[in-house]
Amino acid sequence: MKKSQLTLIAYLAAALILGAGWNDKVLAEGDKPQIVIDPGHGGSDAGSRDGSEVEKDWNLKFALALDKAFEADGYQVLMTRTSDVAVDSEARVNMINSSNARAVLVIHADREWTRTQNGPFLVVEPPNQNALAASDSIQPYGAISSPQFHASLKLAVDIGQKLGVNTSLSDLSDSRGTVEVVSPYGKVACLPHQDLRYLSKPAVVLTPLFLTSDSDLKKFSDSAAMDQFAHKVAQGVSNSIQIAPAAGGAAQ
């Protein structure tokens, strides 16, 4: 056998061994369900404000607490940002859509000028595949199929139930979600949101608090309350995707 042939065989064997090792690693990580946590805004994009309260900071605090809670429950967590940096929206969408995530939580604290609204509030994107079929002009805006909408709605309702809120569909919702029970006090809404419209995974916008709510700000000034909130969210996600939390996790 020539030397060049031996070299080629050696390269192929090495590639096979390394490839198998890489596959094993992927499979090992794949055993853990993956979750994406996407804290909105960041860097020069501060998001909503009320007085000294800034949305991007609250989003990151909640995202880090959720990261901890999901890790403790045996999840593999993918964060779109872990510090105060701006993330390009296209990069963010690519990161989420190319992941193996079973669920996506987009974190957005909000504001509301009557100061009567409290968190949590959950938003899911209405289905729009029919609209896509009806008009080419809507093509650039993404496609939310009916199964994806229902998976997202289930995710929102399961999280809402663990958080103890009214999970009826809010009467502010888009008509395409009105097959569900509608209530003026519902905390789950079906509304078109820029951070959901391009995602191909079950996804919700989770508004843990309103910057304009004194009671919300007071409640979450205590880090234990934030951890407890994050743990309930993780439980809700587990219920939704039907995965039991890992033994020794943060379950209490």
Binding site: T114, V123, Y141
Partner: protein
Amino acid sequence: MNRNSLIVKITLVVLFFLVVLGGFWFLKYHRENKKNELVHGGSNSPLYEPGDKPMKVYLRAVEMDNGKFFSFQTTIYQSKTRVNQMRQLLLAFLNGARTGKGQVPVPEGLKLNDFYFTPQGIAVVDVSTSDIQPGQFGFYEEVLFIRGLIESLSQNFFEIKQVKVLVNGTEALTLAGHYALGTADLGGLVTQSVNTF
């Protein structure tokens, strides 16, 4: 020629002139109306004349003690065109109360650039959000604004089948960063036939 025959002839001549004048007036009025209603809405014409009769309309606003919608009555004027009535209503909504127990869900700094109504029944509302203070128009507030706008317009004008919101003259992706324009079907807010883009 007897007297009766003369009267008949004079009557026929008068009727002929009346028909001609009436036809001329109808064509002129119809053409102006068509131009105003279907092409652009007559933005250069006054919204109403001093002699126009008052007309009651209902606008949507939010109760400050619970954040829920309610309707309140206000007065605009019957002008020559429906589109001018729509424009008056829109201005009444955008310039509505921002103090007191009931307030319109319109942020300070939001301005109307243009309004027109298309032959397909689409009310096109072009707004500017550039003068809104950064961080003062959250997603929930965007939702309230869109809902208040659509309900105020469509509940008073049966002709409106859809409401299209432009931002600074263009079909923007969002109203103010969160609310996604372009895919929303808000039919359930009012009737199944009223949508928004």
